[in-house]
């Protein structure tokens, strides 16, 4: 367990400590880190979860850095290609296939967007395969504070998943208006499915569905990983029993990590495809 002080930590405290973000914001008139979830809540909207942002940016940088490194020594000769290159190529081909099968307009943004979403979320998710105390311990040692909060898996932070979802949502709105015009975009809500004489009913039916897109995107990813991480933490409380239990859960999570990253990517592609076509 991470807490190194003399006082015995209860299981609930252990779990909730691991699930609390390191929040930086303004409290009582000065800027600083929150020392409890209540303080973090008091900071209001203009605070930032330093741990999630740090892990997120580090993993994003890992993705582009690793890609650039592999690209710098890429070769056309397939038999001579390094295995890293093969992994990157397979991933890109998977993304290309997904885009080709689900996205029917032409847009040069979709491929890179889908690739970034898949790889970045995959890396963030895979942080939950790292034993739960390692990264927090590292961060606490670096900060010199054995009580510091540090949440190692960015996708267990709703802010991060919402960041993705909101960005995708704005892209949907942007391309809808760009392709169909503002009138066409709004008309989809007003005149479907019951024609122009039932505008209020149409709005009532269509708007929640539209607004649910980003919410469902964000909550699906967040819920999966929040729950998964909680189970990892509970398993970590079991002493020696955690060894036989952690393994199957981690193996199962290899599937979840990939599946959720893929799902997020696929849904983004599908939503953007809808934004590009009249329906």
């Amino acid at each position: 367990m991470a807490a190194a002080d003399g006082a015995e930590q209860t299981a609930t405290e252990y779990v909730s400590h691991h699930l609390t973000n390191l929040t930086f914001g303004k409290i009582d008139g000065h800027w600083g880190f929150a020392h409890s979830p209540e303080e973090a809540a008091e900071m209001g909207f203009w605070a930032i979860n330093v741990d999630s942002m740090l892990m997120s940016v580090l993993l994003g940088a890992l993705f582009v850095g690793l890609s650039r490194f592999v690209i710098s020594r890429m070769t056309v000769d397939a038999p001579k290609a390094a295995s890293w290159q093969s992994i990157l190529e397979v991933t890109v081909e998977m993304v290309q296939d997904s885009v080709k099968s689900s996205f029917h307009a032409r847009n040069n943004l979709i491929g890179p967007l889908a690739l970034t979403i898949f790889c970045w979320i995959f890396l963030m998710n895979s942080m939950d395969l790292v034993p739960v105390d390692w990264i927090p311990l590292l961060a606490q040692t670096a900060m010199g504070d054995s009580h510091a909060y540090f949440r190692a898996v960015p996708t267990t932070d709703l802010n991060i998943t919402l960041g993705f979802a909101v960005s995708v949502f704005f892209l949907i709105i942007f391309y809808s208006i760009k392709i169909k015009g503002l009138g066409g975009f709004l008309g989809e809500f007003a005149f479907h499915p019951f024609g122009k004489y039932a505008v209020p009913l149409n709005l009532l039916l269509e708007l929640p569905g539209f607004l649910a897109k980003p919410v469902s995107l964000a909550l699906r990813l967040y819920g999966n990983f929040f729950a998964g991480e909680t189970i990892f933490l509970v398993i970590a409380l079991l002493g020696y029993w955690q060894l036989p239990l952690h393994f199957p859960w981690a193996v199962f999570h290899i599937l979840i990590v990939t599946l959720q990253a893929y799902l997020f990517m696929m849904l983004t592609i599908v939503y953007l495809d809808q934004a590009h076509t009249d329906h």
Partner: protein
């Protein structure tokens, strides 16, 4: 769990990484994938072409082989004909030569016979004269006898 500006931070980071990926990651990988696909399809095309060429060459070679065989057969045939002709000619020549030799031999034999007849006649004449001399017991004029005898010999 509280929502805060992390959403905005994450959105900015997301925009940056997507831009970076679109600029520096996606294009080179796609380019290399396309280049490889082109290389492979070129290779396949070349292989197909080579296969077609091979087929053509095989066809041509069998054709040539057939022609060559036919030519060889016709050459052998004409050679055989020529050989038979030569043999016939040689036979003809030999036959003519033989006949010539036989004719020559015949002529010589005839001559020999004639000469022998002549001699025989002369000897018969001399014998007759000697006989007559003996009968007459008297020498007759040698010169007149000679003349008479040669006349006699010619009449024989």
């Amino acid at each position: 769990m509280n929502l805060n500006a992390t959403i905005i931070g994450q959105s900015i980071a997301f925009a940056f990484f997507v831009w970076f990926c679109m600029k520096f990651v996606w294009p080179p990988i796609v380019a290399i994938l396309e280049e490889r696909a082109k290389k492979i399809s070129d290779g396949l095309q070349a292989a197909e072409r080579a296969e077609k060429d091979l087929e053509l060459a095989q066809e041509k070679s069998t054709e040539q082989m057939k022609e060559a065989k036919q030519e060889a057969a016709s050459i052998i045939e004409s050679a055989n004909k020529r050989a038979a002709q030569i043999v016939d000619e040689a036979k003809e020549q030999a036959r003519e030569e033989g006949q010539r030799i036989i004719a020559g031999a015949n002529a010589e034999i005839e001559q020999e016979i004639n000469r022998a007849k002549q001699q025989l006649r002369e000897q018969v004449a001399a014998l007759a004269v000697a006989g007559a001399e003996k009968i007459l017991e008297k020498s007759v004029d040698q010169a007149a006898n000679e003349e008479m005898l040669s006349k006699l010999a010619n009449e024989l």
